[in-house]
């Protein structure tokens, strides 16, 4: 079971200024993260997802997240 607010904070700390939303898709361990960050500009989707995953890596390792779907975007101007 993950603490959604904590995950949002972890992502926001890794990507300052990002808009972050973490949603529960079932059982509090299948989650979806929606992240819009200017840091994503110029990066491949793989690199964007890596940044989000690495921000919450500890929660994968301790088993509180089983699956994390990620949607990334650059902020609309």
């Amino acid at each position: 079971m993950a603490d959604l607010a904590e995950l949002e904070r972890m992502i926001a700390v890794a990507l300052p200024g990002a808009e972050v939303e973490v949603l529960d898709e079932g059982g509090r361990d299948h989650l979806r993260a929606r992240v819009a960050a200017s840091q994503f500009e110029g990066l491949s989707r793989l690199e964007q997802h890596r940044l989000v995953r690495s921000a919450v890596r500890e929660r994968f390792e301790d088993g509180s997240i089983h699956a994390l779907s990620i949607e990334t975007a650059t902020p609309s101007r």
């Binding site: 793989l46 690495s54 699956a67």
Partner: protein, 134 residues
């Protein structure tokens, strides 16, 4: 913790030997995780030949290996031409955009293309109800 060097070498060999390789939970015939099953579905839809490795018997050690090789910890992981393509989200997005067919060197299947807009029925004058006689 550092990855087991022998296992890492084995994984690197598999990635090098298989133009398309899927690390998944379970097997293509019996997937043990919905996300792995979805990536199998995508590959079947594209009709591409691929190798598959069931990660469940050695999940922890394999996670350490892929972290070192590709900086990626979760499964499924799809590799093409020696490089990580991504997990389920990325693979599905790339299927829809046609990028995946390009990366895998196959034709985009027609059923993935956006469906044709429904034909609007010609809007002729509505038939008037039959007249009531008498």
């Amino acid at each position: 913790m550092a990855a087991d060097p022998q296992l890492k070498q084995k994984v690197q060999e598999l990635i090098a030997e298989n133009p398309v390789l899927l690390f998944m939970k379970g097997t293509p015939e019996t997937p043990r995780c919905g996300f792995s099953m979805r990536v199998v579905g995508v590959l079947e839809q594209l009709g591409v030949d691929y190798g598959a490795v069931d990660v469940l018997p050695a999940l922890g050690p394999l996670r350490e290996v892929t972290t070192e090789i590709s900086d990626w910890q979760t499964f499924p992981q799809l590799y093409a031409n020696g490089e990580l393509v991504g997990g389920c989200d990325i693979v599905e997005e790339m299927l829809d955009s046609g990028e995946l067919a390009e990366v895998l060197g196959v034709d985009q299947p027609t059923e993935v293309e956006p469906p044709e807009p429904q034909r609007i029925l010609p809007g002729g004058p509505q038939q008037s109800p039959p007249m009531q006689l008498g």
